[in-house]
């Protein structure tokens, strides 16, 4: 469920967002439910729900409740389903935490990025280091469910001490889950424009290489598992929702800019919230891009996302989806990568050894280049 509202737009952000308009909250919630009602009903129950954005933490608990009820009116929520809410430090209060808990939210994902005031201000974030720490203290003290904090690495002038300091703040509060995202410069962002005009906005790659060793060994020492290249979790604290993406399973995305996958189809919605709302109220299609995937497309995707995880790609699942042909298609790549010790088969999974996980994209690219496709029909 994509809630596009944000108090301000961060300079690095390329998601479909718009400046917050509380008067539109109710319209959006109704529109989301209308779109959901138009999609084919889910055959099985819902295993995970993710309120992302944007900043869904801006929605009043009453509207979140309306959304959750609406969802369950058409399909059942599995027992023990994971329900995640994305929030910013400014949204967190003792009252909000208890309200979210009562609604059945099981997991919070909080955008911290860093505790460095100057950097936060530079990115256009609406909180400073103290507010971030205060929000985490509240969560650590009052939140009974799982939670995760996002950190950003690779911004200009970031030192290894800066990074260790940021990590230490999370470790002190025993964050069950930490995402460490490398800063990327996406087209259409303010950051992109700054870089285009010649400003240095990112750290050089050579620093990033050594920082990666630093943060991953640090987190490893504290008992975190790097279960995906950017994601670290204490035991039993992995994000179930994101793992479904990485296994390339089907998912339904509702809201402006949201993507859905229902093999062999994949589609995404209009990114502009106003346009999205108009389409919904005019009873018209909100999708602006629909594609039909060939099995080879899907195979490539399964590797592209699956190899980024520590578990790798499930071989039984490959066989179920692609029959025997996957092994023929991938034979050359598998042989080459195994020889170079960049790929292994463990517990019936095709995976990258832990030491090479940061090169997952380059390794997937080897498959892209060596893939043998049966002649198309």
């Amino acid at each position: 469920m994509h809630v596009p509202f944000c108090t301000d737009r961060c300079t690095y952000c390329a998601f479909a967002t718009m400046a917050d308009r509380p008067a539109l909250h109710r319209d959006l919630v109704d529109a989301l439910l209308l779109e959901y009602g138009r999609r084919p009903a889910l055959e099985a129950g819902m295993e995970t729900v993710y309120f992302g954005g944007g900043t869904p933490g801006l929605l009043a608990p009453g509207l979140l409740e309306r959304l959750l009820n609406g969802l369950q009116a058409r399909s059942r929520l599995e027992t023990g389903a994971e329900i995640t809410l994305e929030v910013n430090p400014t949204n967190v209060s003792k009252d909000a935490l208890s309200a979210w808990s009562e609604l059945g939210i099981t997991r919070l994902s909080i955008g911290i990025q860093t505790f460095d005031d100057a950097v936060l201000a530079g990115f256009g974030r609406h909180h400073d280091g103290d507010l971030g720490r205060a929000a985490l203290d509240l969560i650590a003290e009052h939140w009974k469910g799982l939670w995760s904090a996002d950190l950003l690495v690779g911004f200009k002038d970031q030192t290894s001490q800066d990074l260790t300091f940021d990590l230490a703040q999370l470790l002190k509060r025993s964050a069950p889950h930490i995402s460490v995202y490398g800063l990327t410069i996406e087209p259409g962002t303010q950051l992109h424009e700054q870089a285009r005009r010649g400003s240095v906005v990112r750290l050089e790659d050579t620093y990033m290489d050594s920082y990666d060793i630093l943060w991953s060994s640090y987190l490893h020492g504290f008992g975190y598992e790097r279960y995906e290249v950017s994601n670290f979790a204490l035991p039993e604290a992995r994000s179930r929702h994101n793992q479904a993406y990485w296994r390339n399973e089907d998912y339904l995305g509702i809201g402006p800019g949201a993507s859905s996958s229902r093999h062999p189809l994949r589609w995404s919605n209009l990114r502009d919230t106003k346009q999205y709302l108009e389409q919904i109220s005019g009873n018209r299609d909100t999708r602006h891009h629909v594609e039909r995937l060939q099995p080879s497309d899907r195979l490539l995707e399964s590797l592209g996302v699956g190899l980024r995880t520590r578990d790798g790609v499930d071989i039984d699942e490959l066989e179920r989806r692609f029959g025997d042909s996957w092994r023929i298609a991938l034979a050359a790549g598998i042989q080459q990568l195994k020889q170079q010790r960049l790929l292994e088969e463990v517990d019936n999974n095709l995976r990258i050894p832990a030491t090479a996980l940061t090169r997952a994209d380059s390794i997937a690219a080897v498959f892209a280049r060596t893939m043998e496709l049966p002649p198309s029909q």
Binding site: V180, D209, Y251, S259, G304, R359, S362
Partner: protein, 598 residues
């Protein structure tokens, strides 16, 4: 047509001195081409020729011109303007009695003007200078006339001054052609003897022979025989160039035209052969031509091994049109099965490569070109070496010889120092320096061909700010201290990157090649070691560090298609890559070693 009314002539000129524009003006004034059919530069037929503004194949046009109430047939035989195609110039000139020596009024005499004038003199033609572009503000006609006298020993006072662009003086020039170019000689009543001075292949008509009737006459429908080829044909169609093919009933002594005789491929025809009537068994052949000789060779391989047959078909097709282009199958450990191809020079090579890609759609990898070498073995045998892979074991070599050319450079005298340095760096031996006009110098070198085929001309242009021109002529093969330098990628020899180099140049050359390779080969997931070796000795080494980490950004549902598209880009890029072991070498790298600057 009465041979007294025929004038056969060609225009010899340096590139850009306005030959094609002048030809267009002739067609215009003689109304040979209706205005509405006019494309700029009528005689340049191939797309490539028009794009590059150069003439590759000799072309012809028959024009009717009336002077003093009498109708004349002017046959213009166009000649190529690049050193690679000198052999075509010679052939075209043999069909003429006169040559216009066209010189740009501001550029003056160039190296190629000197060479082509010599060719025309050897062919015993009536040569007269024409100064073109006199409308330019920078024109210096009188100086240029002086240069012509000094450099070419041709009387300048009879020079014509024209502007092909504005048409000024062009009518007077046509009059002068009638007055000065002698009519063709030849025996009108003798048995037919016609010279094949060129041939082209047409998809619908088969081979079209370009011919000059030397003795007798040829009528449509005649039974003919190609003298040397000893094949018999029927003259299905004969005609003249207007410049489009225009059939006529007969061609008489001295006339120039074409012949279509149901000949399937160009390889069935020898340019320079004589056409006789089948019944005239006693006829003697006309003096022919020396065959064109390939001097530059390179390997051409399909990127996809499965495309080998398509590539071969494409090469055969190209050869139909270009008998100077040769190819034989070869194989390379690194590149698989492909062909060793021979060219007249580097421009010829570029043109063939461009036509291959354009016309066949086969993705190709091309190796660095090399010249033909000779090796004298200790057994006294002389081997022709067209590829580094053909070099025998060093212990079997008595002498390693390379082709050496006589190189002429014409330049403003302010650049003499820079040219001397360039020539000597490239192992050239200085021969002479002569003033051909105020401030203009002709410099001569004896220099190995291998040193000038790659980028010498570009270098020359850059040290003289574009003012110098050059031309060369093969002299002989000379023994020198030559060796094969191998390139190793992760310990594996890449035979397609091997080169032949002078012993004293190996180390800097090796280092330069590896530097280029390092730039062209992307980082891999493992370290890639590049080495240059002569015999067992490593003379240079470069390493490419492995990828250590990719950017690890967020990856959620909306990113999955984006991720796939990024991967698909890699898949598309693969088309232009060759695998050596596990290392991907882009096609560009095989040619980039050429531009390696030591």
């Amino acid at each position: 047509m009465n041979r007294d009314c025929i004038r056969n002539f060609s225009i010899i000129a340096h590139i850009d001195h306005g030959k094609s524009t002048l030809a267009d003006r002739f067609l215009d004034i003689t109304r040979t081409v209706a205005k509405r059919d006019q494309k700029k530069q009528q005689l340049d037929d191939m797309d490539l020729e028009r794009e590059r503004g150069i003439t590759i194949k000799a072309k012809a046009a028959s024009m009717d011109y009336i002077k003093d109430g009498k109708k004349y047939r002017l046959n213009l035989i166009d000649t190529p303007g690049h050193v690679d195609f000198n052999y075509e110039v010679e052939r075209a000139l043999a069909a003429c009695e006169g040559a216009l020596l066209l010189v740009d009024a501001s550029q003056g005499v160039e190296a190629q003007t000197v060479h082509n004038t010599m060719l025309a003199e050897q062919a015993d033609l009536m040569i007269f200078p024409v100064i073109n572009k006199i409308d330019l503000a920078t024109a210096r006609s009188d100086e240029v006339i002086e240069e012509i006298e000094n450099a070419l020993a041709i009387e300048g006072e009879r020079s014509m001054k024209v502007s092909a662009k504005t048409g000024e003086g062009v009518r007077e020039l046509l009059d002068a052609i009638v007055d000065r170019v002698p009519p063709p000689e030849g025996l009108q009543d003798a048995p037919l003897r016609a010279l094949i001075y060129d041939a082209e292949f047409n998809d619908y008509r088969g081979v079209i022979l370009h011919i000059r009737i030397v003795d007798g006459a040829l009528t449509a429908g005649a039974r003919i025989r190609l003298f040397e080829g000893n094949t018999r044909h029927e003259a299905l169609e004969i005609g003249i160039f207007r410049p489009a093919l225009t059939p006529v009933k007969s061609l008489s002594t001295g006339e120039v035209g074409y012949l279509i005789a149901n000949i399937k491929t160009l390889s069935d025809v020898r340019i320079g052969d004589t056409i006789v009537l089948d019944k005239d068994s006693a006829s003697e052949a006309l003096p022919g031509y020396r065959p064109a000789r390939s001097m530059v060779f390179c390997g051409i391989y399909p990127v996809q091994n499965g495309e080998f047959d398509n590539l071969r078909t494409a090469l055969i097709r190209l050869q139909l049109n270009d008998s100077a282009f040769t190819f034989t199958p070869e194989s390379s450990d690194a590149l698989g099965f492909g062909f060793r191809c021979g060219f007249l020079g580097l421009l010829h090579m570029e043109i063939v490569q461009e036509r291959l890609e354009r016309e066949s759609g086969v993705d190709i990898v091309q190796t660095a070109p090399n010249v033909t070498y000779e090796i004298l073995t200790i057994d006294g045998e002389v081997l022709q070496i067209h590829s580094p892979s053909e070099i025998p074991d060093p212990t079997k070599i008595e002498e390693f010889r390379e082709p050496v050319v006589k190189l002429d450079i014409v330049t403003p005298d302010t650049h003499v120092g820079a040219i001397m340095k360039l020539g000597i760096d490239r192992r050239g031996r200085f021969l002479k320096q002569e003033y051909i006009g105020p401030g203009r110098v002709l410099i001569g070198f004896r220099i190995p061909l291998s040193e000038i085929i790659f980028d010498f001309f570009d270098k020359l242009k850059s040290v003289t700010r574009g003012y110098a021109t050059m031309d060369y002529e093969l002299e002989n093969f000379v023994a020198d201290d030559l060796v094969k330098m191998r390139i190793l990628v992760n310990g594996e020899e890449v035979d397609a990157l091997s080169t032949i180099a002078h012993q004293s140049h190996c180390e800097p050359r090796g280092r330069a090649i590896l530097k280029v390779l390092r730039k062209e080969i992307r980082r891999h997931l493992f370290k890639v070691a590049l080495q240059a070796a002569v015999g067992g000795k490593i003379v240079a080494r470069e390493d490419i560090a492995p990828v250590r980490k990719d950017v690890t950004a967020k990856c959620y549902g909306g990113d999955i298609s984006r991720k796939r598209k990024l991967l698909e880009k890699q898949k598309a890029g693969k088309k232009r890559l060759k695998m050596v072991g596990n290392v991907e070498i882009p096609q560009k790298a095989f040619l980039a070693v050429l531009s390696a600057d030591d």
